[in-house]
């Protein structure tokens, strides 16, 4: 699905991306191409480089080389906070809820990066649990509620490219289902989403395309239509 105004607008293009943590070379030439309104997943085993790919896009790793184009701008040497202001929302794997902030303070913490973000009321309607616990310390929430909060706070900023890292990890099925509904809604509203996911069953029905990552490289790209045919090979690759 693409935006009605700019069909096929290329939101993010990553070419030959290498990234390091200290001396260890984690990404070995990642390439991705994401159009506005698409939802793509990064699949792969633990340690394949999925999280590092998201972090490298935001400039949160060590040394990097290659090219990253976001909204037509070449951003690989930009400082992290400027990249965010191109409309990127990041939900880290560990959720990153601040313990020294209340739920509401966490929710309104990230500055607006584009116009057109959701209002606090709208987000409380979407995640009623957060409204009830708005005065609680952020980290007093359950794992599921913390995940809702981590999602909600980047929807308030107007970000239209969401980098979501393992948002279903360790959550109860009913919450995973709720997150699936939220993603479906976001997709219908034209958000672009890159989803790092271990839970393939969660990701499969939502995604336009899957990038399979191994040893810091994209080893396979599977479009929605090809998925049934490639299911067997994919399961082997992921070891599930």
């Amino acid at each position: 699905m693409t935006s009605a105004f700019q069909p096929d607008f290329e939101q993010l293009r990553v070419e030959n991306l290498h990234a390091y943590y200290g001396e260890s070379h984690i990404l070995h030439g990642i390439a991705l191409d994401v159009r506005r309104g698409e939802l793509v997943t990064l699949l792969g085993r633990n340690g394949a480089g999925k999280t590092t790919t998201l972090r490298a896009i935001l400039g949160l790793t060590g040394r990097r080389s290659g090219a990253i184009h976001l909204n037509g701008k070449t951003i690989i040497d930009w400082p992290t906070h400027r990249i965010a202001h191109l409309g990127v929302g990041y939900c880290p794997e560990e959720r990153g809820i601040f313990a020294s902030l209340s739920v509401e303070e966490n929710l309104v913490l990230p500055p607006a990066v584009r116009s057109g973000g959701m209002s606090v009321e709208e987000l409380y309607a979407m995640f009623p649990n957060l409204a009830e616990r708005r005065k609680s310390q952020g980290t007093r929430l359950s794992g599921g509620e913390q995940q809702m909060l981590a999602m909600a706070r980047i929807l308030r900023t107007g970000a239209n490219l969401l980098l979501l890292d393992e948002i279903t990890e360790g959550l109860a099925p009913v919450i995973v289902q709720r997150l699936g509904e939220v993603l479906t809604l976001l997709k219908s509203r034209g958000y672009t989403v890159i989803l790092v996911e271990q839970n393939f069953r969660f990701a499969a029905p939502l995604a336009d395309r899957h990038y399979v990552i191994e040893h810091g490289r994209v080893v396979d790209t599977i479009g929605r239509a090809e998925l049934p045919a490639k299911m067997e090979a994919l399961h082997q690759r992921l070891g599930v």
Partner: protein, 294 residues
Amino acid sequence: MDFLNIPLPAVLAQLVVGLINGAFYALLSLGLAIIFGLLNIINFAHGAQYMLGAFFAWFGVQYLGIDYWFALLLVPIAVGAIGMLLERFLLSKLYREDHLYGLLLTFGLALIIEGVFVQLYGVSGKPYAVPEALRGALNLGFMFLPKYRAWVIVASVVVCLGAWLVIERTKLGAYLRAGTENPRLLQAFGVNVPMMITLTYGFGVALAAFAGVLAAPIFQVSPKMGSDLIIVVFAVVVIGGMGSILGSILTGLGLGLVEGLTKVVWPEASSTVIFVIMAIVLLVRPAGLFGRER
């Protein structure tokens, strides 16, 4: 009315004196705590920056005709600005390294600043007149408290509480708390964290300079005034818990009182009591009274 066979007025008088020292401990340890929280640097130059505050106030009177009240406003801004340059051009190069490097750099800077001032002005104190409006004393019944000293307590408590309220209750404070916890994530949300770090260091240094201006009429202005005080303040910060904002304020005032009380009961111990408390706190609760384990 006696306390351990000591007349109560004498006890109260020493407590008030202790509170005055506590006012300085609180201001200085608050700045250190804010800086340590966000920068992870133990700012050993804090004492020198406090001394700079006092000297700049003295320069103001001596050469520029700037009176106490303007100095109280302008000197923290000037010294804070020097702090920001220091952060931008020196400290910022060290964030990837161990804490120790920041400590060594700021310690070296403290020695250089102090050395230069000793060279230029000698070690004897320069007098700084108490401002007109605060001359005279208040009769508290048990003692005559110089008005200026009462003002120091009030000014320190107001500034500390103000800083605490800003940190706990405002959006700016939420950025500071979030940045203390996870600066990379805060930056990924689009906050200019490097700029925030520079401003925060500048603010911490400005607090030290503010304390220095407050101190000028009481302790005289001398190059060694910072290093005399800062060792005690480091002990206060360790007792309160590194990086805890409220902890540093309450511990600062509280230990001033403890020191005052010790002067009544056992005067010889008053200069060591804080270090004894530090040792006990480190044994029983290594993260400090208000600190969180990291």
